[in-house]
Amino acid sequence: MYAVNFLILAALLFAIGVFGVIARRNAVMVLMSIELILNSVNLNLIAFAMMNNSPEGHVFALYVIAVAAAEVGVGLAMVLMIYRNRRSIALDELSVMKG
């Protein structure tokens, strides 16, 4: 099945994204990794939609893209504010949220 190729690609992208989220210190890189995860999910949705010949998966993918855009907007704004206050966006130096 050629759909397996899509799924393998998506899984790879997902793994790379998760690695980025956990391992990178740069906040912008973490945001980009999240984008990777979201897009891997989009890839899965479209792959399954093609498999099942139904349009719902496409619609969902479009939604996810829109939500991801908004999320990145908010995330970048936060990163910008953190940079303004601290002159750094290194996440390992940030522990204000410590409970």
Binding site: R25, V30, S95, V96, G99
Partner: protein, 810 residues
């Protein structure tokens, strides 16, 4: 005679409104009285006035009904004038025909049901109840008008009128009672109201004691009423239900008692129990002791109590259930019975006590007791109608006498009732009061041509006529004593030299306060006069004896006119017997249709059958020799009243009592002038010279030691050990139970506190709190604030979740 249709009318059909209106008036006075411009007295007067109007209407329609029954329906009275014409037909016309049965207007509504028994409320309107309805509403109306003046300024003015109105309502409920339960209801309402009214000025301890005494003494008799009602019910119910009624219905009981199927012993013991109730309520010997003490109440109350309500209730009970007593006590077949004994003793005993009283109201109280003895004696000797007629006439003159005494204390003797200390010579100062007093006294004494003569003489005459010779002489002795003590009272009050307050003297030595509680502001004013000697004479002129205002004198005048006039309704000396025609139930056999429900008298058909039976009877055989009460009624018929004969009046038979009356007056006047006046006579100082006379005097002053007997001996002997035993039981048993229950409860509570509350409940709460706290501390390091760690946790958790999902799905 055939097919006489009984006339009826709105007032007769709706006579039950008569007690209802004052009862509603009572509620209005209680709730709104204080806000009214006259403090509620106007509601009382208006409600009694409405009742009076209905009672008058009902009286006219009843008379119409009686005439339509006896006159064969020849006239059809329409409207007021038609009724009037019907009321006074010529004497010959009413005298000729044989009296025929007049169906009472009976109505009943179910009050409550229990165990298959229906307890009704309703009306039983016959001549007796019509007479008393009119009498009670009329007297109550006058007394209320009088009271607006007499108790004006009283601190419990509104409550006084409320009680007075309810009191009348209670009597009215009783008078038109359709069954025994309703009768008991009215009876008890009166008992309660008499307690409230006698103790109206309860700030004085003597007054509240008198109220309690009245209440408890009457209650002794009330036990008899309940027991008697129960006995009669169980005796009568089976028979009465078979005949379309029940054992509480007055008609049912009457018919049963005369049916010949009633057990003599049930009737006897039921009659004894009911008569004990009458003894208590009507102040018969030996339970009369509460009546003189009841004088502690305001005078209008005494007047109402002693004329038409309360004390008459006992006589009414006997008159109402007369068949029970007639058969139970073998009246007319014996020369002595329970009722005559009690009545006879009461006449003499009470009259003797009236001689030694200094309090004018107590003289009148004992006089009432004595006259009630006459009524009982009359009922006991089979003189039903004269006894009932004596209720009627006695109400007017005794009410006038009491109101007169109140008028004297209000305006003449500065709230004192002491004849020896504060009265004398008042005839000139209070002419209207004196004149009405004289007329009423003459009526009470039985002087010819005054009302008392016509009623009392009939009782005495019938006692002899019916074979009660001993009681005939006893009644004659009473007829001598009555004018004697009344002459003494009249002499002390209105003649001789003015003394004390009647002479314009002021004294604050306490005893005028006994009845002056209501006049506190009056007395304060009076005290000022004492301090200010310069103005003393002016105040003396104002406070000295003077005639009372019109609201007091008007009722007096009306009543004294009736004290003369009411006797002519039934004056055999002049051939009038309206009262007999209208009031006396006719003792004839009445046909009883099968299934005829005589709880509702609407059935015209029954009247027709009834008339037919009567016609047959008048033609027939047995009507002369025997009759109701002497022979059992024929099949299918019942009797509601015994057939009583009346002694025919003649002046020669009346002579002994007339002579004795005048002898009493003259003898008493002679003695009084000797003792209280200036004249010398050999009887002065008799009590100090002659030992037996002194003993009698001491005995009388101490009221035969009956109060001592009741309070010191009976109460001490019975109530004291009972109280002690009750105290012991209370302390040792009841308190022991309560204490141990309390201790047990306390121990249980402590155990529960220690084990359940502290350990289980608090333990659970504390443990959960501790667990949450420790859990929080344990999880705290996870919240590092590092985004990467959060991400790692998130994906780690997602991975674990995914693995679990896969494992579950496999």
């Amino acid at each position: 005679m055939l097919a006489a249709t009984l006339s009826t009318g709105w007032f007769l059909e709706n006579a039950w409104l008569i007690p209802l209106v004052p009862a509603i008036g009572f509620l209005f006075i209680i709730f709104f009285g204080k806000k009214m411009p006259q403090n509620g007295s106007e509601i009382g007067i208006v409600s009694i006035g409405i009742s009076l109007a209905i009672a008058i209407g009902a009286t006219f329609q009843w008379i119409d009904r009686v005439n339509s029954a006896s006159g064969g329906g020849e006239h059809t009275a329409t409207g007021f004038f038609g009724t009037l014409r019907a009321i006074f037909p010529s004497a010959t016309e009413t005298g000729e025909h044989a009296a025929s049965f007049v169906e009472p207007v009976v109505k009943s509504w179910t009050w409550w049901q229990s165990g298959g028994l229906e307890f009704g409320l309703g009306q039983h309107i016959d001549g007796l109840s019509i007479m008393l309805l009119l009498l009670v509403t009329f007297i109550s109306f006058l007394v209320q008008i009088y009271s607006t003046e007499y108790v004006s300024g009283d601190r419990r003015y509104t409550h006084f009128f409320a009680s007075l109105t309810l009191f009348s309502a209670g009597m009215l409920v009783m008078v038109l009672a359709e069954n025994m339960l309703q009768l008991i209801l009215g009876w008890e309402i009166m008992g309660l109201c008499s307690f409230m009214l006698i103790g109206h000025w309860w700030e004085e301890e003597a007054n509240s004691r008198a109220a309690l005494k009245a209440f408890f003494t009457v209650r002794v008799g009330d036990v008899g009423l309940l027991v008697g009602t129960a006995i009669i019910f169980f005796g009568a119910n089976d028979w009465a239900v078979e005949h379309g009624s029940n054992g509480f219905s007055i008609r049912g009981i009457s018919a049963w008692a005369l049916s010949g199927e009633a057990s003599q012993s049930v009737l006897f013991w039921g009659g004894v129990a009911l008569f004990i109730a009458s003894i208590g309520k009507s102040g018969q010997f030996p339970l009369h002791t509460w009546l003189p003490d009841a004088m502690a109440g305001p005078t209008p109350v005494s007047s109402l109590l002693h004329s038409s309500t309360m004390v008459v209730a006992g006589v009414f009970l006997v008159a109402r259930l007369y068949p029970v007593f007639f058969v139970g006590f073998d009246i007319l077949d014996t020369s002595v019975n329970f009722i005559t004994i009690i009545g006879g003793i009461t006449i003499i005993v009470a009259a003797a006590l009236a001689f030694v009283q200094d309090d004018i109201k107590k003289v009148l109280a004992y006089s009432t007791v004595s006259q009630l003895g006459y009524m009982m004696l009359g009922l006991g000797v089979g003189a039903w109608l004269p006894a009932v007629f004596h209720i009627f006439t006695h109400a007017f003159f005794k009410c006038a006498l009491f109101l007169g005494a109140g008028s004297i204390s209000h305006s003449g003797s500065h709230h004192s009732f002491d004849m020896k200390k504060d009265m004398g010579g008042l005839a000139k100062k209070m002419p209207i009061t004196a004149a009405t007093w004289m007329v009423s006294t003459a009526a009470l004494c039985g002087i010819p041509f005054f009302s008392g003569f016509f009623s009392k003489d009939e009782i005495i005459d019938n006692a002899s006529h019916n074979g009660y010779q001993f009681f005939y002489y006893l009644a004659l002795v009473g007829a001598f004593m009555t004018p004697a003590y009344m002459t003494r009272a009249t002499y002390l009050t209105f003649f001789g030299k003015p003394r004390g307050a009647a002479a314009g003297e002021h004294h604050d030595d306490g005893h005028d306060d006994a009845h002056g509680g209501a006049h506190a502001d009056h007395d304060d004013h009076h005290g000022d006069a004492h301090d200010d000697h310069g103005a003393h004479d002016d105040h003396g002129a104002h406070h000295g004896p003077h005639e009372s205002p019109w609201r007091i004198t008007a009722p007096l005048i009306v009543l004294s006119i009736l004290a003369i006039g009411s006797g002519y309704l039934n004056a055999p000396a002049f051939g009038t017997h309206y009262f007999t025609d209208w009031v006396e139930p006719v003792g004839v056999e009445v046909a009883l249709d099968d299934g005829y429900d005589y709880a509702s008298s609407e059935d015209e058909h029954a009247s027709v059958v009834l008339a037919a039976v009567q016609a047959e009877e008048t033609d027939g055989y047995s009507s002369e020799a025997k009759g109701c009460g002497f022979a059992d009624p024929a099949d299918g018929t019942v009797c509601y009243a015994p057939k009583l004969s009346h002694a025919t009046f003649s002046w020669s038979k009346a002579m002994p009592s007339i002579i004795l009356v005048f002898a009493g007056i003259l003898f008493s006047a002679w003695v009084c002038m000797g003792i209280y006046g200036d004249r010398k006579n050999p009887l002065v100082g008799l009590t100090s010279k002659f030992a037996p006379a002194r003993w009698v005097h001491t005995l009388l002053v101490n009221k035969y030691y009956l109060d001592h007997l009741y309070e010191k001996i009976i109460v001490f002997a019975f109530a004291h050990p009972i109280a002690k035993a009750a105290y012991w039981v209370n302390q040792n048993i009841l308190d022991g139970i309560v204490d141990s229950v309390g201790r047990g409860g306390r121990a249980t509570g402590e155990w529960v506190y220690r084990n359940v509350d502290q350990r289980v409940v608090d333990g659970a709460v504390n443990a959960s709190g501790l667990a949450a706290s420790e859990g929080g501390h344990a999880l705290q390091p996870v919240q590092s604030g590092k985004v990467n760690q959060y991400g790692a946790l998130l994906f780690g958790a997602a991975t674990v979740g995914a693995i679990v999902l896969i494992l579950v799905n496999i």
